[in-house]
Amino acid sequence: MIKNISNLGDAALYCDFGNEVNKSTNSQVIKYFKAIKEKKIEGINNLTPSYNKLIVSFDLKKVNFKEIKKYIENLDVQDSQNINSKKIEIPVCCHESFSLDIKRLEQKLNLGIETILNNFFNKEYFCYMTGFIAGMPFLGDLDENMRAQRLETPRVKVPKGSVGLTEQFANIYTFESPGGWNILGNTPINVFDSLKEDKPNLINAGDTVTFREISLDQYKDYNE
């Protein structure tokens, strides 16, 4: 449930679902996101779900905070509402040319390469949200012993396809971008394709993701 609704500026609502970042809070966020999106309410021009918040932004020429707030407070969101999630497998190559921060991770986590990879690949991840850059999925939760901080100095350029870790999350750089995540490998898959306008994102909030290790040869031969 929404704990509190306030205004973010004069053209957005800030819906707070509580301080906890876990699957159950996030599932509530996603349910509201999908319910509001489905209604196609005149004036709402964007919805941004995140771990525990939902931002609803609107066109101030058409509606205002009070009207949208009232609408959302009275919205009937069924607890059983199907969030309609997919299961996706992402191939990842951890060849040394891709795993830019493996040495740092060994040191920070105090684990050997094999253990790190084993932990990383033998896990199911939940997509909490996508964003920052187009299509980037925020996937959780890594086990406690796999949680490392961001790089002290972010990279100016992280290569497209890089798979990175920070704290309880893994992510995928959908295109070359600055960034500070610990890079473990690279996927040959296009996780974001702006030419597929109806579904540019391979991974959406609420989806389940697993990673499968592939060799450098498989990486090079990979055809989508």
Binding site: L8, G9, S50, F65, T130, A134, F175, F192, E197
Partner: protein
Amino acid sequence: MSKNYFEVIRPGVNTTYQDKGRGHLYHIGIPFSGAMDNRNFLISNKLVNNDLNSAVIEFAYQGPHIKYSGEKIKIAVTGDVVFSIKKKDMEINCNCYRSYEIENNDEINIISTNKSVYGYLAIGGELDINYQWNSCSINTKANIGANYGKKFDKGMRIDLKKINLSHDVKKINYINTKIENIRVIKGTNFDYFSEEGKKLFYESEFTVSKLSDRMGMRLEGSKIENIVNTNIKSEGLIKGVIQVPADGNPIIMLSDHGTVGGYPKIGVVASVDYDRLVQMSPGSKIKFKEINLSDAETLFKLYEMETQNLLSQI
């Protein structure tokens, strides 16, 4: 290939196609984009008889120099812009906020914006460009929009799909006013900052940094001290949000901003001041003034009425 087209002789520093932008995509990480200064964008289209949301050419600081081939058309430039039109052996210094007729072989040279950042060149007709999610707006970070999501390049062509019927010169008297204060509404993390920090936010003067672009405007000046946490759990952003990272220097999110962010939000720029905010060039001084939500809504309504009134005079 169309028979009516411009060739880009000099692209300018950050020249893109823009329209009203694209909505409903924040949840997948795609920002709104669109013309930075909405009022000047609309006026430019009206001056050449275009639909108000037609694609225009947006430039920052130095604009493009382009040469035309084809049938007579109208163009107009808005903003605070120095530009000229070269016809045969004659070069005419031109004024913003009126339409000009362009003939075969004429050249438009947009020399610079004057103590401002963005200007708009509208061409009377329809540009032959690519749309993604119902918008041509170029987002150079995600390579979305017309021209493969890239800014203008030397030698590229601007093809026209169709041109508007000839019309009389249209003009309007308009001066871009500067404002001393940018009005803001308290942000959702306002209480993360020390009493001294909050005071400095409203009372001290900030300078617009050179590290500002369509994504964000960085400010320098008093450091705003955070006493709770310099990070929050990443959450959604909208344009106008003022984030303060650990170094204490505020950053204002602009039209191409990242859709989520993890720095505390001290304030949000009121919609009424957004068009004028984006025009503040590096080195300009900014002071923030707090207003409440209902004042912000009223002020925006008045601003919008003024915009509609200007458009109706054209």
